[in-house]
C-alpha cells in the first residue's frame, strides 16, 4: 500500500503529450490553446471615437473657439475622413475613425446643435473620448498564451485577430469501463439482487464537461472475456477508466489481466478513504494509461477528481489550482489513511467555509448530490477542528 502523496506524484509522472490539432473558432470553447495568439494589427486599429458627438481639433480649443460648423458625418464602418478646416467639426459616431486633422471628441450631451453648427456647453479637454490607435496593444503583442483555456472572453480576442481556426491541445481518447455482473442497463427493471449502471454514466458526464466524449463499455466478470476486450481497448484508447474489479474479491480479475496484457502496475491500493483499492498502471509500448477505480460511486467520484482531473489538466499543460477552505465541524482522519470528505461550501462574508456532508459509507450514491467537493485531510492522531484551513477539490 502506497500513501496518498506518493500515489498522487506517481500519477502526475505519467502524463501524456497528446499533441495538437486545429479546430474552428466556434468549436473551441473550453479547449486549451496550443499556440500563442498575437495581435495582427494595433488595437484599436485606428483612433476610435468612444462617444457620439463631434470630432474637433484641439488647436481650435486653444484659440478659444467654442462653436463649430459641421462639415460632414463620420459613422462606424466609414473610411477615415478629413476635417478640411480645423475651426470646423465633423459629426462622429461611436466606433468611427477620428478624422484627419481632428484629435478630440465632444459628446452630444455637452453640445447644442443649431443651424449646422455645434456649440460647446462645457469645456472640452484635448484628446478626450478618443481611444487612440494601439493604446490597448500594438501589433505583434502576445494576447493569449499557449496553454490558456478558451472561454467566451478568449473567443472574443481570437475573433478580433481573425483566428477562424486555431491550434488546440488534443484531448485523450477515453474509454470508460464498468465491470460487475450485478449491473443492468438504466432502462431495465433490475431483479432484487441487481442494480443499474450509474458510475459509467457519471464518469461520462464528468468527462463531457472537459470536452471529452468517452465511450462507455461494460465487461462481465469473466476473465477471458475481460482479457480479450481489454487487449483491444488498450490499443484503441489513450486512457482507460475502469470502475470496479480491483478489490480482493474472487471475481476481481483486473490486476491479473492487466499483468497479462503487460500493463505495468504503478501502484495498487492507496492509504486513503474512500477509494483504497485504486489501481494505476501504464502499458509502456502502447503508452495507454489505466485508472482502475473501486466500484462504488463515492470512491469512483473521489478518485476521478483527486487523481484523474489533475492528470488530465497536467497533460494539457494547465495549472492545477489548489484551493483552501475553512472547516466547519470536527472530522477524524486517523493514520494511516488520508481522508476525502464530501463537503458543501458556503461563502460566508468573503471566506469559504465547508460543512461535511453526512454520508452512509462509500456505497451511498445520494450524498454526492448534496456536496460540491471533497476536502483532503492528511492522516493525523488529532481530529481536524472547526476553523482549520484544509485543501478543497471542487466537483461542481
Amino acid at each position: 500500500m502506497i500513501n496518498f502523496n506518493d500515489a498522487y506524484s506517481k500519477v502526475l509522472e505519467h502524463t501524456l503529450d497528446l499533441g495538437a490539432g486545429i479546430v474552428a473558432l466556434e468549436q473551441s470553447e473550453g479547449r486549451i490553446l496550443a499556440e500563442d495568439i498575437l495581435a495582427d494589427r494595433d488595437f484599436p486599429p485606428f483612433d476610435r471615437a468612444t462617444k457620439d458627438g463631434i470630432a474637433i481639433n484641439s488647436k481650435a480649443l486653444k484659440e478659444g473657439i467654442n462653436s463649430f460648423k459641421i462639415e460632414a458625418i463620420a459613422s462606424a464602418g466609414m473610411p477615415q475622413q478629413k476635417l478640411s478646416d480645423i475651426h470646423n467639426c465633423i459629426e462622429i459616431m461611436t466606433g468611427a475613425v477620428v478624422p484627419k486633422n481632428a484629435d478630440t471628441v465632444v459628446m452630444y450631451e455637452h453640445l447644442e446643435i443649431k443651424n449646422g453648427h455645434a456649440t460647446l456647453l462645457k469645456d472640452a479637454i484635448a484628446g478626450q473620448d478618443v481611444h487612440p490607435k494601439g493604446s490597448d496593444v500594438v501589433s505583434g503583442t502576445v494576447l493569449l498564451h499557449k496553454n490558456t483555456r478558451i472561454g467566451p472572453a478568449e473567443i472574443g480576442v481570437l475573433a478580433s485577430v481573425g483566428k477562424s481556426g486555431l491550434k488546440v491541445k488534443k484531448l485523450p481518447k477515453v474509454c470508460v469501463i464498468s465491470t460487475g455482473n450485478e449491473l443492468v442497463e438504466v432502462s431495465e427493471i433490475p431483479l432484487p439482487h441487481q442494480i443499474r449502471k450509474s458510475n459509467v454514466l457519471s464518469l461520462c458526464a464528468a468527462l463531457q464537461r472537459e470536452g471529452i466524449v468517452a465511450n462507455p463499455i461494460h465487461l462481465k466478470d469473466d476473465k477471458s472475456d475481460i482479457r480479450k476486450e481489454l487487449s483491444h481497448i488498450l490499443e484503441t484508447y489513450d486512457t482507460v477508466l475502469l470502475s470496479g474489479g480491483v478489490s480482493k474479491g474472487k471475481f476481481d480479475f483486473i490486476p491479473e489481466v492487466m499483468a497479462d496484457l503487460k500493463v505495468g502496475k504503478v501502484f495498487h491500493r492507496v492509504a486513503q478513504k474512500p477509494g483504497k483499492p485504486f489501481w494505476f498502471g501504464v502499458q509502456p509500448d502502447l503508452k495507454t494509461v489505466v485508472f482502475s477505480f473501486p466500484g462504488n460511486p463515492v470512491s469512483t467520484f473521489a478518485n476521478y477528481h483527486v487523481y484523474f482531473l489533475p492528470w488530465l489538466y497536467s497533460s494539457l499543460g494547465l495549472e492545477i489550482r489548489n484551493e483552501q477552505v475553512f472547516l466547519n465541524g470536527p472530522v477524524i482522519a486517523k493514520p494511516p489513511l488520508t481522508r476525502f470528505v464530501q463537503v458543501k461550501t458556503d461563502n460566508r462574508k468573503g471566506s469559504l467555509w465547508v460543512n461535511p456532508v453526512r454520508e452512509n459509507g462509500s456505497g451511498d450514491l445520494t450524498s454526492l448530490v448534496h456536496s460540491d467537493g471533497f476536502i483532503c485531510l492528511a492522516p493525523r492522531e488529532e481530529a481536524y477542528g472547526v476553523g482549520e484551513l484544509v485543501n478543497y477539490i471542487a466537483t461542481k
Copy 2:
C-alpha cells in the same frame, strides 16, 4: 436614466416560463430538472456486502465460534443465497447480496482460510461491513428536487433509479444580433476602418456554456432592413440579445425600430459604468424579451453577466448566488454611476481577494481575458478601500 437596482429588479420581473421537455439521460448534463426524482426502490436494494470475505450469522459469534466451514460463494449479481447452518459461512464479494441467515461480513484481511474453513484473526462485530437495505434511502423518497441543475453526481442518481429519459426545463431560443457597418467576418482581412465581429462570438460561446445554441445574425445600419429582420426575429425567438445600436449616434436605430415593432421599452440607459446605454424591453403579444447591449466588448460582457444570466437562471427556477469577496486595492465609484470593475480572484488562505484588472476604457477587449469576474460597486462619494467586502459576479 434608471439606477442599477431598479434596472436589475425590472429585468427579473420579466422572466419567462419556458415549459419543460423530455431529454435522454446522456444529454441531460447541465440541464435543470423539471420534476422531482423519487427512489424507485430501497437503496441499497438489498443487504449489501461492502467488503470481500465471508458472510456469517452473528449468533454464532455470540456462541463463541470463530472458525466457519465455507458452504458456497456469493458474488455480485447472484440472487440471494441461504446459509443452511448458522455455524457455517458463505464467501462473499463486495456488492453481493448478504445471504439469508447471515448478517455480518468479515473481510479477507481478518481471516485465515484453510481446508475449506475460514478462521477469524480478529474479533468481529455483529452487522459489520453490511450496508443494510434501505439505509441510504427508502423507496419513494425524493432524491432530487425539481429545479436542480444536473451534473455528473445527479446523473448517477438518475441512472440508479432508471430515468433513461427525464423532464427538464426548456431553454430559451436565443438570437444574438450584431449591428454596425464597421464589422466584418472573422475570416476576413479588415480594411483600416473596419474591425472583425467578436461580441456575437463571445456571447454565443457564453450561451453555449448554458447549453443554449444561439443563432448569430448581423444587421447593417439600415433602418428599414433592421425593422424587417427584427420583425421576423421577434416572432421566432424567445429572447433577443443585441450588441450595438443603442447609443445616441445617428445610426443607432434600435430604440426607434423597437417602438415601431411594439416592443415595450422597460428602460433605456442605466446609471452604471460600463454599459450605460443598455436598452431592455418586452414585446407583450409575442412575449419576446429583448436585451440590447451597447456595442463594446466590456459593456456587452458585463451586461450579459449582470443582467442576462440572472434573468436566465431565474426563468429556469435556479437560485441566484450572491458571492462576496475582499477588495485588494482602492476603487472609485462616484455617484451617480454603479460600477462593474473587472477583477481577478485569489484564494488567500480560505478567503477570496480580488485585484482590479487594469483596463483601458470599455473598448478594451484584452482586459477581459485577464479577469475572472466583475465586482459590483454601488455609487458613493468615498472610494472603496482595501479589505472592503464587495459583491462579485463570476465570468469564468
